[in-house]
Amino acid sequence: VRVLGKHLAQACAILFALSILLCPRATLAQYGYDPSNADEQKPGIRYFGLVKDEHGALLPDVSIVLEYRDSADGPYTFAVHLFTDKDGRFHTTLPLDTVPSTVATKCFKAGYKLVQITKRPDTIGPRATVELNCVLHSIGGTPTSP
């Protein structure tokens, strides 16, 4: 029983380590997070994610638009325009009082069409996050006149 228990404990440890490694929220959730950046420490809801093409390659220079109100019934509405970096990732922070379900999102790049967009809010824990991932497929461009 002692040996079995030891093996069980080892298996649990391995499973735990794997879950840490494989869970994107635990590893890559804070894409580009830089704790030395004062802006990163401001309270807010962190939006982050990545964009891939039809081959699974990460796409740079994709527009990400987040449109939100300053509060649930506030008079102001804002649109934040971001771009994926050279690694196809982005992150930004919206005010704490924005409601993720009411934040409208867009994801586009010239010469591509949007195939999938997923939004996963996580309000558990000290920092609320919303993971936003997109898949775009190339549709080519129209050549100039011959």
Partner: protein, 430 residues
């Protein structure tokens, strides 16, 4: 939070950022400058037009000014503003006054403290590739009076002349009547690919609380950089995540345009806002061989005390509607594709609903969010620019009509009025 967003919007609105210029132009200046617009209407006539609010006559004058702006001279195919000074030459401690027009695009990302420099990857609102040009008279006035320096503005705030309108404030020296400032907005067109260009149609774009930026417009046309895009040809094209079918195709000859060389491509790729705008249009940075087409501009001429404010933008059906009214037939071909609005006053003539006069550019102001008095689509050039003052203050939210002298911090005592130009307040250098 609102203040932060408003402040972040600064850089995308109005005039100016910086680079360098050490000296005023001299007689040895090798660049040919045709910088003074010759308007045939006298100052008193224009002042009368302002007080009467006669929009038809105001529009006739504005077209005259635009015609002059677009004209070329014998032996010189360049338009006047191609030789005007750019932001970089105006607001800088040192620099090269010989870099002119959009071809000399140069500005640093710095501002004088109020405006938060854009993160390379994040913008409040949608970026526009804009660049402001100053004619000889405007440039010389700013440089000779050192209005590009924060220290000088601080001095004038204490010892400058009393402002004639806002008597509790000081004012910079009055600009000469020949001064003209032009804020241009450009759209990149790919060298080897047809590029979508969004089109603003007033009937199809009702006011949105977040602003009506160009990614929200309902229609696009296709622009062919080969210059062989015959008018009327149709194609399919994508823009901002949507595919548009059977859209008309236009060649770049339908626009005022410039070809991007290696130097300009480098300058644009290093500018956060230009880089962002080109990423939206092309999905990449601008490259040598691409074309910049002029899609919109705001023009201010100091023909009257509060300046005459003219705004124009490109449209594929530019002969229709009230924005085409009174256009003269002798405009050069590409310039006949632009629609126009004009403001002599922040209030008059009143709109049909009794509200203050509206004069905005869909590219430059349409994107402003509704801050309580309406968004950019009910804004007025002068209603905004009459607030221009130092120390810098948020120019948003949109305000309408005459100045709110009691409640608006832009009219607080002991401020320096900056001659209706936000660029002086925002982009003066230490």
């Amino acid at each position: 939070v609102i203040d932060r967003h408003i402040a972040n919007g600064f850089t995308s609105c109005l005039i100016g950022s910086l680079l360098a210029v050490a000296s005023l132009p001299t007689s040895a200046d090798p660049v040919t400058v045709r910088s003074i617009l010759v308007a045939s209407d006298s100052t008193s006539t224009l002042a009368q037009l302002r007080s009467s609010g006669d929009l038809d006559l105001q529009r006739r004058h504005a077209w005259k000014v635009l015609n002059e702006l677009a004209s070329t001279s014998v032996g010189n195919e360049s338009t006047a503003f191609e030789s005007w000074y750019g932001e970089g030459a105006v607001f800088s401690a040192s620099g090269d006054p010989n870099t002119r027009g959009i071809g000399g695009f140069a500005r640093s990302s710095g501002d004088n403290g109020v405006v938060t420099a854009h993160d390379r990857f994040a913008f409040q609102g949608v970026p526009v590739l804009s660049y402001t040009l100053y004619n000889d008279a405007a440039y010389t006035h700013i440089r000779a009076n050192q209005l590009y320096k924060v220290a000088q503005l601080d001095r004038l705030r204490i010892s400058g002349r009393q402002d004639e309108e806002i008597t509790v404030d000081r004012a910079i020296p009055e600009f000469p009547a020949q001064a003209v400032v032009l804020k241009t907005a450009w759209w990149p067109v790919a060298a080897q690919r047809v590029t979508a260009l969004p089109i603003w149609d007033p009937a199809e774009n009702p006011n949105r609380r977040a602003g009506n930026d160009y990614t929200t417009w309902q229609r696009v046309v296709a622009i062919d950089s080969s210059n062989r895009g015959s008018k009327g040809a149709v194609t399919s094209i994508d823009f901002a995540g949507q595919v548009y079918r059977r859209v008309p195709r236009f060649g770049v000859e339908s626009f005022f345009h410039v070809e991007v060389d290696a130097k300009l491509a480098k300058q644009l790729s290093e500018d956060p806002e230009a880089r962002a705008a080109s990423t939206i249009a092309l999905g990449r940075a601008i490259r040598p061989g691409d074309i910049l087409i002029l899609v919109a501009a705001n023009l201010a001429t100091k023909e009257i005390l509060n300046w005459v404010w003219v705004t124009f933008w490109w449209h594929d059906h530019a002969n229709r509607g009230s924005f085409a009214a009174q256009r003269p037939s002798n405009l050069r071909a590409e310039w006949r594709h632009y629609l126009m609005q004009v403001a002599f006053d922040s209030d008059k003539p009143l709109e049909p609903d009794g509200q203050p006069h509206v004069c905005f550019n869909p590219w430059l102001e349409g994107r402003f969010p509704d801050g309580g008095h309406g968004g950019g689509m009910v804004s007025n050039c002068l209603a905004c620019h009459q607030r221009a003052s130092y120390p810098p203050i948020n120019f948003l939210p949109v305000t309408r009509g005459p100045p709110d002298r009691a409640g608006d911090p832009a009219y607080a005592p002991s401020r320096l009025r900056t001659g209706f130009l936000w660029s002086i307040a925002l982009h003066a250098v230490p």
